[in-house]
């Protein structure tokens, strides 16, 4: 595999020095790898729809073509015109809803990404999200509006959600750090504990929506208590949509996470632990503490995702009193992080992309004979491919190998008999065994 990587990489590099240096940039190749994954996923979805369309008597090639157009341009779909043909253009509702849905995805993506950077797989974002949900709703709905200004309630609810998520994330972190229990197992357990706990807590509460008649299986919206994220002018840009200031907060948080990870000593320690726990330990870093902190950090981000979602005030928490399913945001966060190569800034874009895809799914259901589940197929393909993004990256550049050749000037005395290629460092790895 690696050998291919080099060959294709070198044939790329022959194209020209400019392209070569452009391609050999770490960032360029990461972005390209992601774009390739996304395109391949979309194409796979399109091919699937074509197969379904052509093989079905009811659908035919025309509907398949319509479906494909929605998949690629669903965000800009404006419904059907008078002749019944699909029309496209700026759609403020789609755009605003997309940003609203992107908010929790970006934050869950950040949650998973932060853990990845420390070498941990946070599959528990769903549970942390639920913990954040419960805390946020409780605080936002229990403190009477009369007690304090609603913006303070909002702030308390937001902080409470983050804190609850952090605590929930710290549990698998501690199990990992002190008892060496695999964090994936611990996360799956805490996910279901969170689900059951949420059911129980709301069952005991008086927050069940009883005023709106038949809706017995819902918790009040936070707006019921007057607590709502400010729109920050976004409703003017995207009228009639669900958008609010949450997306701006999410983007600010992503930038903060980026700064913490790359510019601070704390981030340096986290990344060191993630890249090589033994070396971090050797260098005197508290590797156990860092693992707990990293999971708490990740949990806080998932908690923030929940807080911002519910504090929008226009969504109600579905609660059946019997069985709480795990929210999909947590798992989609894995896809967002993978696709963004765990770069906090990239998760902003991959989160927005995933949200766009879900809007396309809705349009697909509303406007065509296909249903939105086709977008799940597309997401699945993209996630598979993003897991291959390392391979794609090496196909694009073959970085390590090339550097190894160009690298390491031989001792000055030995250059004499070297004509062109240097066989020196080929076996560096092997040499170390000797």
């Amino acid at each position: 595999m690696k050998d291919w990587g080099y060959n294709i990489g070198s044939s790329f590099s022959r194209v020209g020095g400019g392209l070569r240096s452009f391609l050999s940039k770490e960032g360029t190749r990461s972005v390209l790898a992601t774009v390739i994954s996304i395109l391949a996923g979309l194409i796979a979805g399109a091919v699937l729809m074509l197969i379904v369309g052509l093989s079905s008597e009811n659908l035919g090639g025309k509907s398949a073509w319509e479906g494909i157009r929605i998949i690629f341009g669903g965000l800009f779909s404006t419904g059907r015109d008078a002749e019944g043909a699909l029309s496209f253009g700026f759609n403020s509702v789609n755009m605003g809803d997309m940003l609203f849905r992107a908010t929790p995805l970006i934050l869950c993506g950040l949650s998973v990404a932060v853990a990845f950077k420390t070498g941990l797989f946070n599959i528990g974002a769903s549970g942390q999200y639920l913990a954040g949900t419960t805390a946020t709703l409780f605080i936002a709905l229990s403190i009477p509006q009369t007690a304090m200004p609603t913006w303070i309630i909002w702030l308390l609810a937001f902080m409470g959600g983050m804190l609850a998520g952090a605590l929930w994330g710290a549990i698998p972190g501690m199990l990992k750090a002190f008892l060496n229990i695999n964090e994936v197992l611990a996360c799956i357990m805490t996910n279901w504990i969170a689900a059951t706990l949420t059911t129980w807590v709301f069952d005991m509460s008086n927050l069940k929506n009883v005023t709106e008649g038949t809706k017995s299986a819902y918790i009040y919206k936070t707006s019921f208590n007057g607590v709502q994220t400010p729109k920050m002018g976004l409703d003017k840009l995207f009228p009639d949509s669900q958008v609010n200031g949450g997306i701006i907060i999410a983007i600010v948080i992503a930038v903060i996470v980026y700064i913490v990870l790359t510019k601070t000593t704390f981030g340096f320690e986290l990344r060191a632990c993630g890249a090589n726990r033994h070396a971090a330990h050797y260098a005197g870093m508290k590797d156990r503490r860092n693992i707990v902190l990293s999971m708490a950090f990740a949990g806080a981000l998932a908690g923030a995702a929940a807080s911002l979602y519910w504090l929008s005030g226009n969504t109600e928490f579905y609660w059946t009193g019997a069985y709480q399913s795990l929210p999909s945001e947590g798992f989609n966060g894995i896809a967002v992080a993978l696709l963004g190569a765990s770069n906090p800034i990239a998760t902003i874009f991959t989160g927005i992309f995933m949200s766009t895809l879900s809007i396309s799914g809705l349009q697909l259901r509303n406007l065509t004979a296909f249903n939105e589940y086709i977008t799940d197929v597309i997401i699945a393909v993209i996630v598979y491919l993003s897991a291959f993004s390392l391979l794609i990256k090496s196909l694009l550049g073959g970085k390590h190998r090339r550097i190894r050749v160009v690298d390491t000037p031989p001792p000055a005395e030995a250059v004499v008999n070297d004509s062109g290629s240097k066989p020196t460092e080929a076996t560096t790895g092997k040499g170390d065994e000797e």
Binding site: K263, T265, F268, N276, A279, Y282, D407, K422, K430, E434
Partner: protein
């Protein structure tokens, strides 16, 4: 050796290319029947690649292989076995819980109706054992026998398969001096019985002692083949490195001062069994001297270092560093109190391979005020500092301070660690196997740096498995055997043989209480 002797194996003009690199460039190696032919070269010179080509693991781009003058095609290791080529790997390929006999016949079992014919096999093995003087206990389990006997088992495996061409890949790395001498004797016996031996090594003493001819590789090219009797160690080493190399460390008399490190009755529990891996170890290291802990691998040295540096907890005793008892201190406290540590495993502990060189250079210092302000890293200060170290210690890499350490050569990785640790100017330097896997040039450099530290009044504690290093570099030798210090020797008055006796546990001193 008479020139009329036919060559049993001829590798002619072998070229093996890996992407961008010629690992073997037009190499010709001719092995005579009944000779011991040494293959000498630094790490990365192409020895392993060449042997892999002979063993069928790689296909060369160019070149031919002749067996007894007939061209053969070796596509995989089975072809090699069919041509009676056998190999003793550096790391033995034995099953620990099987007996010696089972290991020997494994893969070449004689059966009748599906039942093993062990009796016949045993007779053949014992006959071979007697013929070549390879003493083994056929019914002992491999996990219970010495490394030397394991190696004899490996050799018998080749002989049992009637191999005529025997490849020994760095066979002496794991042996005591006595075992090395035995192995040399065995190799001479085998050659005398008509077997042809290819002996891969970078240890010049052994090559001079046992081989008939030497082929030297450097950077994938064949530098030449010489008769061992016509050459010297110095000539071989300059052929290997491409320039004259100083084989003996130049150093003046040590001028020890105050004790910097005082270890008393230190014990470290074992991770494998209930006994202590290190028990009741006591000694001092004074400023201005290099004290070496010698011993065969696995006698508690690693655990001792882990306990000393704080990687693992000690179960008893005291460690006093510059007057402070640090036995309960964290790694960082020990490091601040005055301990530098060049770790045994540079990939596991020493470096974060996916970090850049500059990040690795401040791995223990990133939190110091000069590199951060209010928790924010001062990248400029780190780069300046890293560049200073890179220049001063001549660490070579592709893109300077922003190179990913993974892409650097082993020697330069180790230089980076040495630079980082020595530049901290700590009164105690703990260097564990600092030259493992490095080539002669890098070894020379690191030795001179350690001597420089000593002369600057630092206390240097060296833990090494390399006898040459122990004898050359140290001012005092402490021998560790089964977790205890069994002897203190003066390298100027002791011999390698005596050291070997201590290392093997055959001899021990009652040490005075310090």
């Amino acid at each position: 050796m008479e020139q009329t002797n036919p060559y049993v194996i001829e590798m002619l003009n072998i070229t093996k290319e890996f992407p961008g690199i010629k690992a073997n460039d037009d190499i010709t190696l001719r092995l005579r029947k009944g000779e011991i032919h040494a293959l000498l070269g630094e790490n990365g010179a192409g020895k392993s690649t060449l042997m892999s080509v002979l063993f069928g693991l790689y296909q060369p781009e160019q070149g031919r292989i002749l067996k007894d003058g007939v061209e053969v095609k070796i596509n995989n290791p089975n072809d090699a076995t069919a041509l009676n080529i056998g190999m003793v790997h550096q790391h033995f390929k034995l099953i620990d819980v099987f007996t010696v006999l089972d290991n020997i016949i494994l893969g070449a079992e004689d059966t009748r109706c599906g039942f093993l014919m062990k009796k016949k096999a045993r007779e053949k093995v014992m006959a071979l054992s007697k013929q070549y003087g390879l003493i083994i206990d056929p019914d002992a389990k491999v996990e219970d026998i010495t490394v030397g006997m394991q190696q004899r088992t490996e050799i018998l495996k080749m002989l049992y398969r009637d191999n005529e061409i025997l490849i020994f890949d760095e066979p002496t790395a794991v042996l005591t001096p006595q075992e090395i001498n035995e192995l040399m004797e065995i190799m001479r016996n085998l050659a005398a019985e008509g077997k042809s031996i290819l002996f891969i090594s970078h240890k010049l003493n052994e090559i001079i002692a046992v081989s008939d001819r030497v082929t030297v590789l450097r950077k994938g090219k064949c530098v030449g083949t010489v008769n061992t009797c016509d050459t010297t160690k110095e000539e071989l080493s300059s052929m290997m490195v491409g320039r004259p190399v100083q084989l003996v460390v130049e150093k003046d008399e040590a001028k020890p001062g105050e004790a910097v490190l005082e270890v008393r009755n230190m014990s470290v529990p074992s991770k494998l069994h209930k006994r202590n891996a290190v028990s009741n170890v006591s000694f001092d290291v004074r400023s201005g001297e290099i004290v070496c802990i010698a011993g065969i691998d696995g006698n508690g040295q690693s655990e001792f270092v882990e306990g000393l540096t704080g990687l693992e907890k000690c179960s008893g005793g005291t460690i006093s560093l510059c007057g402070h008892n640090i036995i309960r201190s964290s790694i960082r406290e020990r490091s601040k109190r005055g301990m530098s540590h060049i770790p045994e495993d540079r990939h596991k502990h020493g470096l974060i391979l996916d970090f850049t060189l500059e990040q690795n250079m401040v791995l223990q210092r990133y939190y110091e005020p000069r590199f951060q302000k209010g928790g924010f890293i001062n990248f400029e200060a780190i780069r300046t500092y890293a560049n200073h170290l890179i220049e001063q210690y001549d660490v070579r890499s592709g893109q300077g301070s922003v190179t990913r350490v993974r892409s650097m050569s082993g020697g330069n990785q180790q230089k980076a660690i040495v630079a980082r640790e020595l530049d901290r100017e700590m009164p105690l330097v703990v260097a564990v196997q600092p030259t493992r896997g490095l080539d002669v040039g890098a070894i020379e450099y690191i030795h001179s740096q350690l001597v420089k530290q000593r002369d600057a009044g630092k206390a240097v504690l060296l833990v090494s498995l390399e006898l040459d290093e122990v004898m050359n570099l140290s001012d005092r030798i402490l021998v560790m055997y089964e977790g205890e210090i069994v002897g203190e020797l003066d390298p100027k008055t002791t011999t390698v043989e005596e050291l070997g006796l201590y290392m093997a546990g055959a001899k021990r001193q009652e040490r005075r209480a310090e």
